[in-house]
């Protein structure tokens, strides 16, 4: 089974809700990732998704993120180099959502 954790921090008066993902995200658990983002974004116009602790994710996660970006102001935090950054660039996700890189 694919192991991942999705920590959800709901919005407060002046902060954006955050989902911190870690582990692997693939077809087997991408629905959990979508659920976590929906729960966090509930009623908020913006959502931050931190992917810096994700070891593996692919187009399954990209599709879930595109769906969120269609209705929400999405910011993703990713490692400055590596396949996730490549994935966001090739898919064009970095053109519909903000990307913050961490060294």
């Amino acid at each position: 089974m694919t192991d991942a954790q999705f920590r959800v921090t709901l919005a407060s008066d002046d902060t954006t809700p955050v989902v911190v993902a870690s582990g692997d995200i693939d077809l087997a658990n991408v629905a959990d990732f979508s659920d976590a983002m929906a729960k966090a974004a509930n009623g908020s116009t913006a959502l931050t998704v931190d992917l810096t602790e994700v070891n593996y994710c692919d187009s399954a996660a990209v599709r879930a993120l595109f769906a969120v970006a269609a209705t929400t102001e999405l910011t993703m935090i990713v490692a400055a180099t590596g396949p996730i950054k490549t994935l966001l660039g090739i898919s064009g996700l970095d053109r519909v959502a903000a990307v913050v890189t961490m060294e």
């Binding site: 089974m1 692997d24 077809l27 087997a28 990209v62 599709r63 396949p83 898919s91 064009g92």
Partner: protein
């Protein structure tokens, strides 16, 4: 590659989402045995993962039997050859600018060559990547 004599890897699993983690665990171990640098291994893991994910998602479309997914990795003289095969009868999605069909573009960006063959008897994605010693 530190050692081009590392034995080839062959992983055969049911073509379903739950198999993807198994494929990645085997590949991660093989990349390490083959002495492939972690950054390169992560790129190759994503390339294979995209192809395997496509197979796990679509291989059962229109198939009357239990579809198997076979992933192989082998050291070559100057790099690695990777293949993802299934015995289903799906058609890979055409390239599109929408948010579907990214898989093949992602693969093409990560490896040196990618060859896709889809027949009535299955789909195979073959990839090669040159590695500096």
């Amino acid at each position: 590659m530190d050692d081009s004599t590392v034995p080839a890897l062959c992983v055969r699993v049911p073509a379903e989402p739950a198999s993807l983690a198994i494929v990645r665990a085997q590949l991660r171990q093989w990349f390490q045995s083959a002495g492939i640098a972690p950054d390169t291994a992560a790129d190759l893991l994503l390339a294979v993962g995209e192809a395997a994910s496509n197979a796990a998602e679509h291989a059962h479309d229109g198939a009357a039997h239990n579809v198997e997914l076979t992933v192989t990795a082998a050291a070559t003289g100057d790099g690695v050859r990777l293949a993802v095969c299934d015995d289903g009868c799906w058609k890979p999605p055409p390239e599109s600018p929408g948010n579907r069909g990214h898989g093949l573009r992602v693969i093409a960006a990560l490896v040196d060559t990618v060859h896709l063959s889809a027949t009535r008897n299955g789909t195979t994605v073959e990839m090669t990547k040159e590695l500096t010693r």
